[in-house]
Symmetry: D2
Subunit: 266 residues, 4 copies
């Protein structure tokens, strides 16, 4: 009397067509602005639950990242229905130490599409909805920066009718490589409380996620960042103490799956 | 070196302030339009994974529900920052049989806010983002229906720049009680695929969820419903074969937690 | 060879169906929160172009108004397609003197729908798009204020990813009448620059607009208001110096047309 | 006692800072997809009010245009606050004859930002709000088309929770020039009804608008277009009878002002 249901994610149905997400591989093409800085001493450590520990070198380094993506699955043509394939996100990345190596770790992130929100939750990104904007380079005309020294970019993120962060970046040149905070495999927690809401988690995993990466020219330069208060965020604790610099580049990614490193019952 | 982090949901931080959701109890006050109909024979059964089975009486009955909510937590004042506390949702509810009793079950649902989206996922509602609208009664002036016989209401849901369903409801009178499809405790699956995306689920639970309910006057009447096609939905299979009727009422809810009925490793 | 085109507003077509607006009468039913205060001396006068002058009594009084509407035209059924008929707005109203009488005048306003935006421009309201939220009374359940002493309401407006104003209001009782700033017929300018953008206006009118009004119970009380900075607004100049009070009430309106008082060529 | 107020558009204030628009010149940089086709005989003529007449050659030709823009004013830095400077639009362009020459003319257009909406009204574009999406070329990675033969693009426009049009375009090669429908100066009406809403217009002008144009490589190819029904649109009358082709290109524009050709009192 009952049915076999299919689909990578809910809602599951006989055909799997309604699933909020198709299965990986997921491909991404986009533009990414990364701004690195040092927060107050101890600010990053305060966000690392045990057994994660701060890294030895510049433990308070943070990367504020803005990205504008188009994605598609391997089997689908989502890119031809761009309301489904385009989105923007903003995230704060730190580093941590776990099992004798250094990892990158996303501590806050906002995105403007549900497919990306859930794709993030599956990978352990603590995604919320937000409104994200970043200046595009002007490849023609006069309404924006050229990808050349002097080109200035802005970027903002808001949620709950409040601006949360705003950044500015000015290209000073090109570089072979750029950035060290968001340069490791990602170490995330995947969490879901019990439905009893009794203080425990029904799912509590530590996972490794990463993508195959295709990097465009790194345009590096100077950056500034402002952080604002909000009753639903804790960004003031990660406000910049010292700016390190920024980088704008085109990026291609492919995610094929991560790895569960630890699974605990809470 | 590392920190104790808190919060009902991610992102977890020392204070718990950034958590996408505060812990239950969650209170809701709102308005709900419920439209009941019969789908084609077997349409509901096709959406029930084993061990769920169709109910014996009118197994193809479906309730299409539109609701407009304001919510708050027990400890917070979310209702005073209404960008955080107001949202709308639209869902399709069916019934199923499990462990010798009848249950209600949400098979498709769209909502327009991230807190509600995740609150749904925690309760096993397969929520996606959508754009939901429902006519409000006009308690003054001429721009809407009165809560009286002849009052006409419309309701729509869209996602991905496509209208998915539209309904119309006309009050014929009041009733002591109304509706039978969405009248049982809810039986949901809570699902999350493994990060390996290897076809298995890291979380696969059957849960019971329900709320304390405070019901206003039931305005009952006649209803119609149109269902449209979409590459990301399977609503055509649940299109109406025979309309049963509708009901508009004010509703108050309190959710304190559900119950895990089954936890399986996939 | 060419056609007769119809429609109250553009785009005009043979049938008039595509017009962004149907012709008046326009009916509105909704809820309105009005907060009155005194700004710094001279703050209101600075916003009144000649020949408008400040009023004699409390010339710096301002009303900050939040409203949530459902509208319909006389001939249409927009209320049955609520994506077209529901919207919110927030406005700042002052008073001015012109032709020997006192008028109300909207100096800043944000709305979240294009039909309302253009309807505003036709009436001389300087509408921009914004994100507007106001607490709803809870007529059932626990997720909001009752319409009774102690009931607390919040209201916010944002634009360009920035919060512009936020207010709070607490009911202390009921009143026969309430408010004096937004109590006169409205005196507005209707403006459109020449297409040459040479500094002149092709349309420059002073108009009187007003509606037939149906008022519900006035719940009056205490209010606070915070005003934030923005590069595209000048709200700081209208920040409160002294709060006067607030009022929440249901309102019905019908707009049938205004009156052109002055038409000048610039 | 009263003030000098400034600003290109409303709301006018002492500083002009709050004006919904800064004065021209306005610069634009973006990407444009143009799809040309023939509608049913007479379909275009039906949308041309006298004294406009159809052109002699292929009078039923229509261009469906999708564009994604970043804009800035000459004096401002709007591009550094991209929530203000980025938007998308979709328009239908036809041709008409007036004063012994051929013109292009926008008959329907949707845009997703208020500054662009009003800038359109100032230039006589009958802009409404809509949700517009177009596939971006993938300059890196696998999530989109390359700017090369075989590259496939999609584009959609929706309003009022309804999809209005969707298009698909496949690059077949490059061309020196492309398109003939949107190739003339634009001839538009600027309209505003009287505030009396008595059937007359307070502003009724025929204007010429055009921009300085900087064109990137024209990628031409095959196109399809589907048009859907809506109670607030008349697009079915402009549905394609025969597709002509498409073109994707980067475009830079500068608008410095138009020219009033006729001003009538209605």
């Amino acid at each position: 009397m009952s049915a076999v249901t299919a689909g990578f994610l809910f809602p599951r149905t006989p055909s799997g067509q309604a699933s909020l997400l198709p299965p990986p591989p997921w491909h991404y093409s986009g533009e990414m602005l990364t701004i690195e800085y040092l927060a107050e001493p101890g600010a990053v450590a305060a966000l690392l639950p045990p057994p994660l520990e701060p890294v030895a070198d510049r433990p308070d380094a943070v990367a504020a990242v803005w990205a504008e993506w188009q994605w598609k699955s391997e089997s689908g043509n989502e890119e031809l229905d761009p309301v489904r394939s385009q989105y923007k996100e903003c995230l704060l990345v730190v580093r941590c130490r776990y099992r004798d190596r250094d990892w990158s770790r996303c501590v806050f992130i906002w995105v403007d599409q549900d497919a990306s929100l859930l794709r993030g939750h599956i990978q352990g990104y603590p995604k919320k909805l937000g409104e994200i904007w970043m200046t595009r380079p002007a490849l023609i005309g006069q309404a924006g920066p050229r990808l050349a020294p002097g080109g200035r970019f802005g970027a903002t993120v808001a949620a709950g009718s409040r601006r949360l962060m705003e950044a500015e970046f000015t290209i000073t040149g090109e570089a072979e490589s750029a950035g060290f905070v968001n340069a490791h495999p990602m170490l995330h927690h995947r969490l879901l409380p019990t439905v009893e809401a009794d203080g425990g988690d029904a799912l509590h995993e530590i996972v490794k996620v990463g993508s195959e990466v295709d990097l465009g020219t790194a345009y590096v330069g100077d950056a500034s960042l402002r952080v604002f208060s909000s009753p639903t965020e804790e960004l003031l604790s990660l406000a910049p103490r010292e700016m390190l610099g920024g980088c704008w580049r085109r990026v291609g990614l492919t995610f094929r799956g991560g790895e569960t490193l630890s699974r605990s019952e809470d």
